[in-house]
């Protein structure tokens, strides 16, 4: 998985929209992925909740599930 920020979402998820707004407001570049269309990747990463922000950097993977954790990650 290439370095970058990936936001796992679902089509009907109010908090995914909030997460997008927070990332956009913070001007953080990210790839939005619909979990249904990337099931294998979601399983591999152990994602069980939408939204989940995955940050890949130099082989290290950090996961932030839910709006409040994503907000904390943005502020960190």
């Amino acid at each position: 998985m290439a370095d970058g920020a990936y936001l796992f979402t679902t089509a009907t998820c109010p908090n995914c929209k909030i997460a997008c707004q927070l990332l956009d407001k913070a001007e953080i570049a990210y790839t939005k992925l619909l979990s249904d269309e990337h099931k294998e990747m979601a399983v591999q990463l152990g994602i069980k909740q939408a939204p989940t922000l995955v940050i890949v950097q130099g082989g290290e993977v950090a996961k932030y599930a839910g709006v409040s954790d994503i907000k904390k990650a943005i502020k960190a």
Partner: protein, 299 residues
């Protein structure tokens, strides 16, 4: 700093419904939510008791409700309220700045008390539930455990016993603490077994919940179950309002069906107020009542 007609604290069904009603009354509204827009209902994979929906996921319902509120002009902000300062206007202070309101609706909801075990939060909505009315149907013919021994736990167990093959009630004390009438009803059910003096030490399973590790007088044992209903109490999220608004002994905001608090201009809606039934439908009803009361107060 913009002044809103109504500042709504909490973005669950009560707060968002209040926003819909206030928006339709052409009031300026902001909804402040610290964690999950949609509230606890977003943890339910399938909801079948919301009027107008034969079946809907909690997320779908919350998504539609939020869309409806936003379409009516509601602003939404992801921030944590720290306190309300009373003056000519109400200043709602948050970790993202302050919001001024002519009125305030508190709709902070409750959180189910958790067991405090590893993996517990991961399994919520996927093996762990807090509401037999909402999720019991998913365990038809299966074996479940209810954790707790009070009125809620016994009511959950009785409801589940109608459809589940077997219901264990795991109670940490040597006795049940629910009403006698409920205890008698539980005792008459062939498929309910109460396990006394026992605590839950661990949740078993990886992708799916497989069971529980229990600790009792005879040591640790494993109990295979398909689902767990945790009923060890609710925790209202009203601590920040203490001293400003009247709370009852359990921390709920004191208000009747009119949703008015003891502080003029501050209203309350949903699970965080004193009431008997805490369901999505009753939260939405409160949202409507509180919004219309706030509109009436605004004149």
């Amino acid at each position: 700093m913009r002044t809103y007609d109504i500042v709504i604290i909490g973005g669950g069904p009560a707060g968002l419904t209040a926003a819909v009603y206030a928006g339709r009354a052409n009031k300026s509204v902001v909804v402040l939510e610290k964690g999950t827009f949609g509230g606890q209902i977003t943890s339910s994979p399938k909801v079948e008791n919301i009027p107008g929906f034969q079946s809907v996921t909690g997320n779908e319902f919350a998504d539609k409700l939020m869309e409806q509120a936003v379409a009516l002009g509601t602003e939404i902000e992801c921030c944590e309220v720290e306190k309300i300062v009373c003056g000519e206007l109400f200043t709602v202070e948050t970790d993202e700045g302050s919001f001024l309101g002519k009125t305030v609706i508190i709709a902070t909801g409750t959180r189910h008390r958790l067991l405090g075990l590893p993996k517990e939060e991961d399994f919520i909505g996927n093996g762990i539930s807090f509401c037999a009315v909402c999720d019991g149907a998913f365990y038809e013919g299966k074996t479940v455990a209810v954790i707790g021994g009070g009125n809620s736990a016994l009511q959950e167990a009785l409801l589940l016993s109608e459809t589940c093959k077997k219901v264990y009630v795991v109670q940490n004390l040597g006795v049940l603490t629910g009403e006698d009438k409920l205890q008698k009803a539980v005792a008459q059910k062939q498929n309910i077994e109460v396990i006394y003096g026992t605590t839950v030490k661990a949740i078993l399973g990886e992708d799916a919940l497989k069971g529980l590790t229990l600790a009792g007088a005879s040591g640790e044992t494993e109990l295979a179950v398909d689902g767990v209903f945790v009923a060890i109490g609710l925790v209202p999220q009203n601590g920040i309002f203490e001293g400003l608004i009247q709370l009852d002994g359990c921390g709920y905001i004191v208000a009747g069906e009119g949703c008015e608090t003891n502080l003029p201009g501050v209203f309350v809606a949903g699970d965080c107020r004193t009431k008997k039934i805490r369901q999505v439908a009753t939260a939405a009803a409160d949202g409507a009542v509180a919004a219309l009361a706030a509109c009436s107060y605004l004149g």
